[in-house]
Amino acid sequence: MAKKTLIIGGGIAGITAAQKIAQNGGTALLIEKEGHLGGNFAKLTYTFPVLADAKGIVTREIKTAEELAGIEILPRTTLESCRGEAGNFTVELGTPSGRRTEQVAAIVVAAGFHYMEPTAYTEYAYGRSAKVVTSLEFEKMAAEGRLPQGPARVVFVHCVGSRDKAKGYRYCSKICCSYSAKHAIMLKQANPEAKAYVFYIDIRALGKGYEEFIREAMEKYNVRYIRGRVAKVIESGDKLLVRAEDSLIGNPVEVEADLVVLASAMEPPQGSRALAGILGIATDEYGFFREAEANVRPCHSSKEGIFLAGSCTQPMEIAAAVAMGGLAASEALILSR
């Protein structure tokens, strides 16, 4: 019988990797620190660029994984230690029922990402005003039907924490442009009376159908895109004043808003450096796991036998995470035969 593969993280990349290993005759041990699978994907309402039911997709994928014989799922489990080499790792797992030692041939790290809490951005009144929310909170509001009613004005702010040397990260989080467009469309669908304004620096729609998706938001849903980074959000009575520059005109502008949504950056998963220390693999300057070779070996970590999948390596969209999960699974299978 084939040796086991340990998969760290039960997000969409981890689930995919587990499925592929099991479907190809391997055995996967999927550990997740939370009580349920799905990761960040499970927190979404819709996917983009096709507005499909995210919860449905995740539930379907989790069900498939649970039904496969070769997958053992351990929720609320963390990795405690890891010894050995490619083909023969001894890992110690901290499960709710105590410690458990396992022999595995390969490890797939699919630790996902974390949405940055924009607490450093006090100029955006985040944390002070209940009307300033992050995109993740907006998802929740949308799912619970708490979106603003009537002729409300909603401002979406791009690049909160991304492309910011002073307070955030220098990299581009890649998906914020698209998901903000998704949120604007969700708002317009739920409440056509509402006005949506999106403040952007550049629109980075790097994926199939993404550009068309954002153009659709502008053209079909009449979402107003203004080029310029928001400088300040000021509380004024029960409204918010959003100050920015419309840099295509060169004038400072002010929008009176009822809700401000901050597209916060994707940051490395919490505790990524500690996990890297346990596994003995390298991270980059931000805390994302470093690939052995960025172009043709995107899923190899700096250590033989440990593979990377999904957004724990760099900000990426769902399709890329799924693809990377599959690739990591196939690499792991080579070692477990």
Partner: protein, 140 residues
């Protein structure tokens, strides 16, 4: 001066007249870059569209740009990646400005397109200098 973005302006009227939505503008600046009047712009054509979307009606109607645009020149429309009929937009805006009693800011909207030497303005002002400096201004 800080602009306040409004919602109701002549944008709808312009969109109805040209039969196209202004939101399709990519803000790529191709229109202004190739215009023969680029030396005299106060607003570039792209900024006219942007200002219309922001409903800064007064600013657009007061601009010189809408009077600069040639009536039968469609150079910008020809290069526009989304095919916005900019000269039609300007014509609509000129009409609207006339209706509101705004004086034309530019005396002669140029009649013809493209080539510098055919441009009405250059025929009057530029001939002397053109002959003295050779034909450097002629486009390739």
């Amino acid at each position: 001066m800080r602009l306040k973005i409004d919602e109701d302006g002549i944008r709808t009227m312009v969109e109805q007249s040209i039969g196209k939505s202004l939101t399709s503008c990519l803000q790529c600046s191709k229109c202004g870059g190739g215009c023969v009047h680029s030396e005299e712009f106060d607003l570039t054509p792209r900024q006219v569209v942007e200002s219309l979307l922001d409903c800064q009606d007064g600013k657009v109607l007061d601009s010189r740009m809408i009077w600069l645009c040639g009536r039968s020149c469609s150079a910008c429309q020809a290069v526009c990646p989304v095919g916005l009929p900019l000269n039609e937009i300007m014509a609509v805006l000129r009409e609207e400005a006339g209706r509101r009693g705004i004086e034309p800011k530019y005396e002669k909207p140029s009649m013809i397109y493209y080539k510098f030497e055919h441009c009405a303005k250059h025929q009057e002002e530029g001939e002397a200098s053109e002959s003295s400096t050779g034909r450097e201004t002629q486009p390739a």
